[in-house]
């Protein structure tokens, strides 16, 4: 039986006291234990930033690559061994700034993986600069005139026909854990945007600020997460009311399931045999 101990810290944690990341890692551990996933079955892929350190603070296979390049590395890994459960972890800088092109492409392809984005609307690791999701006018050392119009990750995901789209709040571990489980179990790409207060650098979007605003779409009567137009309407909401929960879900073909080479077994299990290519040489004779 898998227990929380299996996902205990492997090295000392270097996050600030009170950081939303502590709640997120707790929710993730709970989700993995509930799903009875063992650490060797999972591959965490991350980039750079405070969020991207998370895989080091638990147990699993880890590819901690470059800033913004989590999704390409995760895609390559998933195709090489599609039996691995692949979870990508980044912050808003890596996911919605440096790596946004990869995010759009990966959602379009519908690779079967889960992508957790710790969205604290500010850069933590580099100490307090504006992020792609900082609110309009957010003043930092690099944006003295105020940040420009923020990225809307939910709307972008819907435009790319992401097959699973959720937003969660780090202040609600139970809810986050439930949606992480749904995302991991979903067949296809699951984007989980996690609203996460940064206690050191974001003094606007605090726990209190979020608590006053977030509401669960599943509590709204008649909300249908397969209705894309309704999902778009929710994606526009930011201010007095901020929707969390399962925003959108759609069944559609998974990229790697359509690859002929993966039909029989994983690529990594397939033998290398140079002699099988004689027919290819014939084409040049």
């Amino acid at each position: 039986m898998v227990t929380v101990e299996d996902y205990a810290e492997s090295i000392p944690i270097a996050w600030c006291p009170g950081c939303g990341n502590f709640a997120i890692i707790q929710a993730l551990r709970k989700a993995l234990v509930d799903l009875e996933i063992e650490p060797h079955q999972i591959l965490f892929v991350s980039g750079i930033g405070q969020a991207a350190k998370l895989p080091h603070y638990t147990h699993g296979n880890v590819f901690n690559g470059l800033h913004g390049r989590t999704l390409p590395a995760a895609t390559g890994a998933k195709i090489a061994n599609h039996e691995l459960i692949v979870v990508g972890i980044d912050g808003d800088g890596g996911a919605y700034g440096e790596g946004i092109g990869h995010l759009l492409a990966t959602m379009r392809r519908n690779i079967n993986m889960t992508y957790m984005v710790h969205n604290n609307q500010v850069y933590g690791l580099t100490k307090g600069q504006a992020s792609p999701t900082s609110d309009l006018g957010f003043v930092t050392k690099t944006t003295p005139l105020g940040a420009s119009q923020p990225v809307n990750p939910l709307a972008l995901a819907l435009a790319s026909d992401a097959s699973f789209l959720a937003r969660c709040f780090a202040g609600d571990i139970e809810h986050l854990s439930t949606l992480l489980k749904m995302g991991i179990e979903h067949r296809g790409f699951a984007l989980i945007d996690i609203l996460q207060p940064c206690v050191s650098f974001n003094h606007k979007n605090t726990y209190q600020w979020y608590r006053e605003r977030v509401y669960k779409v599943e509590d709204e009567s008649g909300y249908d997460p397969t209705d894309k137009i309704a999902a778009f309407a929710r994606a526009q909401e930011w201010g007095d009311r901020i929707p969390i929960g399962l925003i959108y879900r759609k069944e559609r073909p998974v990229y790697e399931e359509q690859l002929p080479a993966l039909k029989e077994m994983t690529l990594v299990k397939q033998k290398i045999d140079p002699l099988q290519f004689e027919a290819l040489l014939d084409e040049f004779v």
Binding site: E38, V62, G65, R69, P72, A73, L275, L281, F284, V285
Partner: protein, 575 residues
């Protein structure tokens, strides 16, 4: 310089110059001859001026010649630009009705190409097939060989188009036999016996080498001259265990291949300089995470977009130093299409054996030139996956750590999902277990471990080719695709009474210092011949051996060297 026949087909983009040029090259290969063929084309889909040159010889041929026996001119511009390249006794095939070019004399052979195509098959598009039929007829070659190649090449377009092309070739052939017999001084007939040789270009050889070498994943973004490698593997995904992904950009391509390689399959990318620029951060990632990855870097003239459809060797230093920080790498630069195949299989072995990136440095010239080669022997392809642990070996380890410090610098490699072992790696500096660290001692140990791989790697690097002659006055030094032209230049010099050695590097990094030093230390004069403006190999030789070469023949106009040009420039600039 020995060659039986040199033919050029010229016309504008869209006239099928490349297609019929290739058909001609294949027709001569089928007849038992060795062929070297290249294409010169502009960065456009229609219009402009394109040509395809085919050099035919009884023995091996590795370069082009400037002198033509037959010029097949599909438009007037081809005559204007290339008539000077015709040898005495050579012939220009042209269509007077179409070009409105009024030329007299033995060298001009007027063939009403368009009218013959319309009369025979009612299809002007087959004018080019009429033209190669005429060229084959002029040399008194075997039409059946041409017909067989035409049938193979057009088969996928259906029976009518196939047979119409054969008919079009036939009318051209018959016209030449009837009106042009004996016009050409050079006649050739197919050689007896069954010929099993292959005709392929460098890109195709690289792609075949990748398949045979066990590559299971390629991710890429199209860029001349490397796109055909991605296209070749993509063409095979239905029937072989390989995945080819055309992705959003080169950054994705590189990181995807690295993710696949980390997970345990042989993976590669192929690009040109501009795309490689985008991949460079990933190259350092592969160095840091000790991930085996093969990169084909097909050079073309730079900087920036440069000249997309032309050739250059301007990225030797870029390949040497690409990536931030210091890490081990391998640079291989195949000299011929034949070598391109074996280089790729070796590249995958070295990448896995040393768990580090391998760059295969080619250029537009080798990538797109066709050569006749002996059929590759797949039994000679060896697969060496280095210290990849078997399931059994792994199960005997108590505690697996990915980046274990060892004497060789190479750590035993396990794969994520292989047993209960966890495989942890990081682009941050990390400890043996793969977790990020900042302490000085661990940093030193890991950095030295990664660099130490070069100590044993250098024994896996082949010495340069050295062709020595008695009393040599010069040693001509080259690398990569210039091999054929330099070899033939040395032969031309010999015919003129000048003895020259040739030293050629196909495996460049780690640098074969001792072999290069000993080859150059006893040479009177040493010259590098390079397709770049800054003599990058000469600089590298100086840096690694202390030897200062006597001079350089440099060319950076985007065109490949011909043997004659090397000799001419030696005479003008050096003698």
């Amino acid at each position: 310089m020995t060659s039986l026949l040199n033919v050029m087909v010229g016309g504008e983009a869209g006239q099928g110059v490349q297609s019929v040029g290739f058909i001609m090259a294949k027709t001569f290969t089928r007849g038992g001859y060795h062929v070297f063929a290249d294409q010169d084309y502009e960065n456009r889909v229609r219009g402009g001026h394109n040509f395809f040159r085919v050099r035919v010889n009884a023995g091996e041929v590795l370069a082009l010649s400037k002198e033509l026996d037959i010029l097949v001119a599909l438009n007037k511009e081809t005559i204007d630009l290339h008539h000077n390249e015709l040898k005495d006794g050579g012939v220009i095939i042209f269509d007077q009705e179409q070009t409105k070019f009024d030329a007299q004399g033995e060298r001009f052979f007027n063939v009403p190409l368009v009218r013959l195509a319309e009369d025979a098959v009612k299809n002007k598009l087959m004018t080019n097939t009429v033209a190669i039929g005429a060229a084959i007829g002029l040399c008194d070659y075997d039409f059946d060989l041409l017909a067989a190649v035409l049938r193979e090449e057009f088969e996928r377009h259906g029976q009518k188009i196939t047979e119409d092309n054969v008919s079009a070739g036939r009318v051209g052939f018959d016209f030449a036999r009837e009106h042009g017999a004996q016009r050409l001084s050079q006649q050739i007939q197919p050689l007896p016996g069954i010929n099993k040789r292959m005709l392929l270009n460098g890109n195709e050889a690289l792609a075949l080498g990748a398949m045979a070498g066990g590559c299971k994943f390629i991710s890429g973004y199209p860029m001349t001259p490397a796109s055909p490698i991605l296209e070749y593997l993509a063409d095979k995904v239905r029937h072989y265990d390989v995945v080819a992904m055309h992705v959003e950009d080169e950054i994705a391509a590189m990181n995807m291949a690295i993710g696949a390689a980390y997970t345990g399959i042989r993976a590669m990318v192929a690009t040109s300089g501009g795309g490689f620029c985008l991949m460079v951060e990933g190259l350092a990632l592969a160095g840091m995470t000790e991930t085996p990855i093969v990169v084909v870097l097909g050079q073309r003239p730079g900087p920036a977009t440069g000249m997309p459809t032309r050739t250059e060797q301007g990225e030797l230093w870029f390949a040497l130093h690409a990536g931030h920080g210091e890490f081990s790498r391998v640079i291989l630069a195949p000299a011929t299409a034949e070598e391109a195949f074996s280089t790729m299989t070796k590249a995958f072995n070295l990448a896995e054996k040393y768990q580090t990136p391998v760059i295969v440095l080619t250029d537009h010239h080798i990538a797109t030139s066709y050569a006749t080669v002996e059929r590759f022997n797949l039994k000679h392809v060896k697969i060496d996956r280095g210290q990849l642990l078997s399931d059994e070996e792994l199960s005997q380890l108590d505690d697996y750590i990915r980046h274990k410090v060892t004497e060789s610098g190479i750590s035993p490699r396990a794969l994520p999902g292989q047993g209960k072992t966890l495989v942890v790696t990081d682009s941050d500096e990390h400890d043996e277990a793969g977790h990020l660290i900042e302490d000085a001692e661990t940093r030193n140990q890991q950095n030295l471990k990664r660099l130490r791989k070069l100590d044993s790697l250098k024994f896996d690097i082949n010495n340069p080719k050295l062709h020595k002659v008695l009393n040599a006055e010069f040693t001509l030094i080259g690398w990569g695709s210039t091999y054929g032209a330099i070899r033939e230049a040395a032969e031309l010099l010999k015919e003129g009474g000048i003895a020259a050695n040739v030293l050629h590097l196909s495996e460049i990094w780690p640098f074969p210092t001792e072999a290069v030093s000993s080859a150059l230390n006893n040479s009177a004069k040493t010259l590098t011949i390079e397709s770049n403006a800054t003599a990058q190999m000469a600089q590298l030789i100086r840096r690694e051996t202390g030897h200062k070469v006597s001079g350089n023949i440099l060319k950076f106009d985007g065109r490949p060297f011909s043997p004659e040009e090397i000799v001419d420039r030696l005479k003008k600039e050096v003698f």
